[in-house]
Structure formats: C-alpha cells, structure tokens
Symmetry: C2
Subunit: 350 residues, 2 copies
Amino acid sequence: MNSPQQILFSNDIPASLGALLSDMEPAGVFVVTDTNVERIVLPGLGLDCPVIAIPPGDSHKDLSSLSAVWERLVELGANRRSVIVNIGGGVVTDLGGFAAATFKRGLRFVNVPTTLLSAVDAAVGGKTGINFCGLKNEVGAFAPAAGVVISASTFSTLPPAELLSGYAEMIKHALLSSAEDYAGILAFSPLEGDEDRLLGLLSSSVNVKRRIVAEDPSERGLRRALNLGHTVGHAFESLALAGRSPLPHGHAVAAGLVAELVMSHLHKGFPTSLIYPLRDFIKDNGYMLPAFSCDDYPRLLALMSHDKKNEKAGSINFTLLSAPGEASIDCNFGPDEVSPALDIYRDLME
Amino acid sequence: MNSPQQILFSNDIPASLGALLSDMEPAGVFVVTDTNVERIVLPGLGLDCPVIAIPPGDSHKDLSSLSAVWERLVELGANRRSVIVNIGGGVVTDLGGFAAATFKRGLRFVNVPTTLLSAVDAAVGGKTGINFCGLKNEVGAFAPAAGVVISASTFSTLPPAELLSGYAEMIKHALLSSAEDYAGILAFSPLEGDEDRLLGLLSSSVNVKRRIVAEDPSERGLRRALNLGHTVGHAFESLALAGRSPLPHGHAVAAGLVAELVMSHLHKGFPTSLIYPLRDFIKDNGYMLPAFSCDDYPRLLALMSHDKKNEKAGSINFTLLSAPGEASIDCNFGPDEVSPALDIYRDLME
C-alpha cells in the first residue's frame, strides 16, 4: 500500500489504463462501476474483464453495496495479486477503493474518475469509504490508489450543472496555490467543452491537492486547508437539503468560497479586488446559489458549529487566506463573528 | 496509524492499561469485548467507560457483529480522538481492531488479549478482520494497535485445552528464534499455573513475532516464516472439522509442527534429536492429536495444496528449518514428496 501513486493525465483512457495495468502485473483485473457508467462509458473502453456494477447514486454508497462487491470478488476468485479498477464518480471510487483496501486485507486498485468532481477531488488522496447510519463517509480507510487515470474525455456526457460543481473544487485548489493559478482558472469555463485545455488545468489542480495530501496523509494538520469554502458551503448544502431544494455540492462550495473569502478579507486582509472576479465567474456561468435571508442565520451558524471538522465546542473552524496561496488553518470564530460575513456575502451576490 | 506500537507485559492490567491510555489523551474510551469476557473478566478491571459486547465465538466474527459495533460507536458519539480498547480473545481483537481501523477512517485502539492464543498471536502484528462468505479473515485491514497489554493474569479461568492451544504458537516462535528458546519453552508447561514465569516466556515469544512482523508488515516475504507448522496443521484442523470431531487450532498446529520438523529433517537436515523432545512434550501435556490413516493422505494433501498461502498451483508451500532459528520460506513440494513425512509422523506419534 505504500508504493508511490502513479497519476496519468490523458484523454486516451484505454492506452493509459493499459500502461498502468501492465506495470502492475496483476493476477486478474476486476472492474467496479455503477450501472450508468457501465452502460454509457464502459463500451468505449474495450475492456475485457469481469465487471461488478453497483446501483448509481450516493444513497447506494452503503454497506449493502459494499458487501455485494466483496461477495462478487469472492465468487470471481480475486486474490492478493488481483487489481481492482474503479471506473465512475466519487461514489464508485470511494466504495470500490474501500472494498479493495479491505478484501483479503488489501488489494491494489486503480481509479478512473469519470466526472469532473471525482477527477479533481475523490480520486486522489486516499480517502475511501461508505455512508453509514445516515452519516457521510462514517466508515472507511485511508488507502491510496496505486494508480489514477485522469481524463476529460468522459465529461462530454455530463450535464453543465455537474461540470460547474466539479469546477468549484478546481477554483478552491487554485486559491490554495497562487494568484496566477487563480487568475488562470477564472479565465476558462468548463462549459466551453475544450477537453484538452480542461485536462491541462485539471493536471495543475490535482497536483495542488496531491502536494497537500503528501504532507499530511491522515488529515492531522495542513490537509485541513482543503476545507476552504466547505465550512460555509456544507451549511448552505444542508440548509438547501432541509428546504427540499437540494443544491449540488460544488455549487454550495462556490458560494461558500465567496463567503469565506469575505471572512478572509475581514480577518486576514485578503484583497477585495480578488473577490469580485469570483463573484462574476459564478454569476456568468450560471451557478445555482443558496436562497437564504437573515432569518436563516441562526440555522446556518448552528450547522457550521456542528461540522465534524470542529474540535472546539461552540466555535466554528475555518481555513482563511491572506492572499491566494497563503492559507491559515484552524481559524476559530464564534457565531457572532461570522454573521457580518454573511451580510457582506448577500450584498455581493445580489 | 504509523506511530510505534507500545507493548506492555504486566500481570496488573488496570495499572498498565491506565498508563497506556493516559499517554494517548483520548477524547473518550470505548471497550469492545464479548459477553463472556464482559461477565468474567471486566468486573475485575474496574473500568469506567461504555462497553460494546458482541456474542462470543468465531461464528460471530462476522459482518453483522462488525456493523453492530460501528452502530454503537455512532450512538455513543465516538470521534477521531476516541480510543477503542479491545478486551478478549482473537475474535474480539480481530473484529474490534477492524471496527476501530475503519470507523471515521481510523480510530486508535488498544488490545488487551485475555487468552494465551490471542496474547501470543492475534494481539500483535496488525492483522484485523472478519470472516466473510464462510472464509476466514476474508475482509480486513493491516492496522497495528497503538498499544497492547499482555498479561497472564486472566488465564486462570481458561480450560487446559485452551492454554495448550496458545502454547503451541509459543513453541513455534521459539523454533523460529533459537535452540535456547526452544529448549526453554519445552522445559515449562502452561498447565503449571505459574503466571509470572509464563509472562516472561510470553514476552520473549511476542518479541520474536514482533521482530518478524516489523521486517515485513504486509506479509510479502519473511513474515511467511510464521506459517511454520500451519501448512500441515491447517490440513489436520480441516480434516478433523470435516469428520465432526473438531481439533482446537493450537493442537492441530502442535501436530503440524512435528510433521513439518520431519519435512525439515528430510529436506534441510534438521536434527532428529530436536524432534523427540517436542513429541514427548505433546504427549506428556495431553495435546489432542489428529486421527488419520494412510487412507486420509489424498484428502490431507489436497487440503495442503489449497491453502491460501500457496501461489503455485499443485504445489505445497512450507517454511522449513535447518536448525532452530534457521528458517527457509517458500519451500515448495509436490504431494508425493510430502507423504513420506506423514508416514514418519505416524511412526513417531504412535
């Protein structure tokens, strides 16, 4: 499990996957995917190996699907020298990675993310797992994929809202990287359909995450910087879900990034001149935005204080920036100190 | 997960466990055990923390018990800074260790083995897991306990057959260590009830395993030496189970050790003068022995070739010794080459 992870960026999945697998000399290859990806993506890849398909969607990222994957691996005779190839979005790479990491105490696995969100977020970094008792990723393991093939070639079948969702995480990585990366990411739109340029940006973006994860694989310190935008973003997401008008994860994160850049401005001097371009990007590309008024503040602030990243009761934990690339983790504030940023966020986005 | 493992040898469990836990500064402590140990051992430990008890026995080392432990951890509010203390035999340390290693992607855990077999074998080395689809330890993880308290003070309630079972693994470790350790281990009997001397021998024995595991944590090479006695031992165990007269694991291993020392003599020159003392020890202490005749050879040899440690079809993989402390792993033989050793084993044991 401790060999270095190989990440290939390529719009030719079959060639890259073939190269990765032939280096690994597997005793057998087994694909884990979902039934949508099996129908839409797999025929184009020309793979010749057994396929284990789970039902699509986050509600199936559960113990019952996990147990079904383990059972099929037993039936198919997978052994310690077999390799699992997870092809799909975050549900497939998280669940398939966990199944591989625990079958016979650990098979090697390769991830082939087919959505922008999983390419930029879920496929690298070694977090695997399932939802349990209604809690997201409550059970899992830190287990890095032996290899990852990152490609933009499967994105053409994705709806625009899903591309925008994944792109929000790329904006976050650019903010954690440098002013140049941040300007570069806002100068492109994933809706343009330029797979080659998108792949280039993805490559920089994934490498930002990879550097951070390499310094802190089990999330004890620096890796929390990746939580940028997510303290407020998760609260927006939960509020929308409770109001029965769900907001896709990355859309909530995009709005959360604006709110946390406002916090960064108020407490760390992040320049406002770098907040407007993000606001404009979000509006121009048609991101879905959270609907809330000041009546919702108590609820939103309570959601933020209950986030699992908080270790101090009653306070809210943020990653803030003094400038792009200059992050401070573990900035703690009381709910009263967060309300003004929500006011400014609403002014900005109106 | 990568901090060094602390192993304390002590016949005062409460003091040692208290010292281990206070070093770890846990946000909360949760005990995983089985209902027998809960009734017999826990009252004497004076612990003041929530207890999660699974039903006793290997048949409950399954997904349903694992899921029940995860559920209780959710209900009890365990978080990433909590510590799980597994108190029990190998079923509890294997399952509780796996539950801890996967809850919220990994809590720290401490093992307190209460049987001789788990003290010498299951509590050190980082193998955790459950049985799945009728296969032993089919699902699990390599996850070392942060700490282990090894004590002989709980053994007085164990039946003699169980003490002998655990002692067979200590004989194996002594054979892998040195002629002195081998002579020392045969000069004592676990049935004598001398807890302090047993603890001293346990300490040497566990350290033999620890050294081997440290050099090969994920069982790619050297660690297979720990399979000594188990190729034939597992076959004896399975044959007895199929004949509905189950043989406890360590009793099968003791017989397996004799058979594999005979193989070692035939192929590596292991001195016969060092086989007789083991034969005498087994007979004098009343180990249960496998009942078989030459009619059972085909079945026994087939069981050996299907052992999961075999990677070459049709051949049988052994660890053999040229002398105590001098092991060769991956010695492969065809079934025909193993039959003569079974003949000699039967002559010796009659």
